[in-house]
Symmetry: C2
Subunit: 440 residues, 2 copies
């Protein structure tokens, strides 16, 4: 982790991200932004500050965030007439503008996204990239004519997550509907993407919320439909936790040497063994569009180790033997070695490397509270029949939380599952198959 972040910044919960981390973050942003734009989202910029009265408009939302925001009370030498908050999320910054922008059904769907920073005054102990007071993310804010269109967006959000997080980053996850008691402040339903870190705790890395007409009513976001009637829009928002996704990659893929990046997050490097083969190496670097390591003050071993620690997925090595026999040595980050005649051969080697990183989530079926307890000690996610993720299930949830320090994460929406049996806590009829785990 110390290759990625420096936690010595003198404000609690705020960290510095070093180049090895920031380069991967830039690639993460590009991957998600390109995929969002392919799906007709467009980028916008919204201010980092929100006037207090905006935040206060949606009551549940205000209650949820009041104790979690940083307050700006002074500017220059003057006290501000109206306090500003540093955005903890941007609903209350954006939706007043949506009420100005959206007039007619022709303006819908409206699908905008912000890439940027948000700030939350977390009181729990902070942990680099996982829980901090400043984090990097993407948030989309979409408005639709009706509930059906909004739900299609939630499927699209899931498919974007699959394409990037599972297929490119090789991080397995489940997408669950969160229980009522874990729903975003102001939303009707929250859907979340959870992965499992090697220490046995799940990490929420993205969420998408169905806001219904709730914010639309508060912020007066109405449109005239083709039937000439005025209606409220239905809204969704999708938050992609860039910091936490990077944390997952680091914690799940790293080995005893250091970081292991999939090829989507880091480029390879070209290493000429000695100065007399630099020309050839330059040629290869140019063709492959890669950077060149020209640090001959270190031994080849030291140079290999240097790049391995930083997570570079493969090294193209050129020495005298390679030039004499007209091949390039490929050293993969997992220790495998290949000789290639042509750079075209690289693609399969890299793809195979990426695929080798994928490990399915450890999920264990449990059919009693005792089994649940045992499973949680095995650092896995438990799968169980559960009475209800609505209010009705609160007592069972509390028992799991208090006795096992674990959380009911919700039921899956990326696959369909029917409960067969009764709730493992209260033994009433189960309405859901839920996933239970310790969490960050």
């Amino acid at each position: 982790m110390e290759e990625i972040v420096d936690i010595r910044y003198p404000v609690k919960g705020f960290i510095v991200i070093k180049p090895v981390g920031m380069k991967a973050i830039k690639k993460l942003y590009n991957l998600f932004e390109n995929e969002l734009e392919k799906n007709n989202h467009e980028p916008v910029h919204f201010p980092a500050v929100i006037p207090e009265q905006n935040l206060r408009k949606e009551e549940e939302h205000f209650k949820g965030f009041e104790s979690e925001v940083f307050w700006i009370t002074k500017a220059g030498l003057n006290e501000l007439n109206e306090k500003l908050i540093l955005r903890p999320t941007s609903e209350t910054a954006i939706y007043p503008m949506y009420s100005l922008w959206i007039k007619s059904y022709r303006d819908l769907p409206l699908k905008y996204y912000i890439s940027g920073t948000v700030w939350r005054y977390e009181t729990k102990s902070t942990r680099p990239l996982i829980r901090g007071r400043e984090f990097l993310w993407i948030e989309t804010h979409c408005a639709f004519k009706n509930k059906e269109d909004a739900y299609k967006q939630i499927s699209e959000d899931l498919s974007i997550a699959k394409k990037i997080i599972r297929d490119k980053l090789k991080i397995d996850f489940i997408m669950v509907r969160r229980p009522r008691w874990d729903t975003f402040a102001g939303a009707q339903q929250t859907f979340a993407i959870d992965t499992l870190l090697p220490d046995g705790k799940v990490l929420q890395i993205a969420t998408t919320h169905y806001l219904g007409e709730n914010f639309a009513k508060v912020f007066n976001i109405k449109y005239v439909d083709s039937d000439m009637k005025e209606k409220y829009v239905h809204q969704t928002c999708f938050g992609i936790g860039i910091n936490r996704i990077l944390a997952s990659v680091i914690h799940i893929h790293s080995d005893s040497i250091g970081i292991v990046y999939p090829s989507a997050l880091a480029d390879g490097i070209v290493i000429p063994i000695s100065e007399d083969v630099v020309e050839k190496a330059k040629e290869i670097a140019e063709k492959a569009n890669l950077k060149l390591d020209l640090d001959f003050s270190k031994t080849p071993g030291e140079r290999f180790y240097y790049w391995d620690r930083k997570g570079v997925p493969y090294k193209l090595v050129v020495g005298k033997k390679e030039i004499e026999q007209n091949f390039i040595s490929v050293y993969r980050r997992d220790g495998k070695k290949y000789n290639i005649k042509d750079l075209k051969e690289l693609e399969n080697i890299i793809q195979d490397f990426d695929n080798s990183l994928f490990k399915p989530l450890k999920i264990v079926n449990v059919s009693s509270f005792e089994e649940l307890k045992k499973a949680l000690d095995q650092k896995v996610i438990a799968r169980a029949c559960f009475c209800s993720v609505e209010k009705d299930g609160t007592d069972c949830y509390n028992k799991i939380k208090q006795e096992l320090k674990a959380e009911v994460r919700g039921y899956r929406i990326d696959i369909q599952e029917q409960p067969e049996g009764n709730c493992i806590v209260c033994n009433r009829k189960a309405n859901h198959v839920v996933y239970i785990a310790k969490q960050y």
Copy 2:
């Protein structure tokens, strides 16, 4: 401008940037970041908040910024023990870390950059993208062994600016050394890139500062040189005003229809005239890697106008005639029209369009105060002999400022010029050829 920004956000000086602006801003960031990385700068993330005591460390710097920053005094329900500021620039956030990171001459040069937002409590009247309380920029922070290396960096900064701002964005500029009285708080010398907007005012769009050993001494950034002696680093920082560069493009290139983007800032669009030619249009869009306009609810004329207003540099149009006769119509944003058989022909047509946007700065030589006065009414930059940009020239500067509401911008460093004559204000021997203009 209303295609680009919405100024109705309810906090003074904070604006919303709409997709047509934000897409161009994303391209601007990519252009500069790629060029910085080619020149061995690396990206880092630093927090948006700085503890008050860091800001206080460099006295001149604190004096310069004290009345210009937003203060965070409260978090959640608690008053903070130490107030935080929203960064107005990042020297005092970054340099304490540099003193931890830099130990030996082997760690130098250190060339990092941040892409992000800064906040300044501007008291003057704000103006969208030109003067605001929140703006998007890039700041590089470099540390070197000595003054010579630092000065080479300043040349590199200039050459990066030329490559992007002049060659790609087609915005002409001068780079000047700012007079002593306009030097960045805490810097030894400030070099600035100024362009001229059509209303006759110059706009500073980037600055690069030679900080000398000043901050290094305050923040204790020392290295052990190869001679085993401990030395202070020499520093430079380069601020690239993304908002203001976009403002320059808008103000300088736009016409009576709307925005005119050079091809570096916006893609073309493919327009099938009717639904029966969509297949062919799709094929072209895919080959050219462009988006497709499929809005047949509007007339072709309305669709052309729609994209023209948004600044799209060219439209590839496919109708029945085009399909029958096997060509593509290219409508350039400047009204010129071409028929092409092959997409390869597009490159020259676009390059020619970009080149046509370039207009050299209007600079007029003046040899007396009277001539200066007249020139400033002509909406140009005046070029004049001037006594001194050091303290010694303050009276002459004040006279120009008070009587003509204009500023001495400094002497050029992108070309070499020798003064021939005396100062146009005090008639003493001129030490410099300076550029004088009204400013934003």
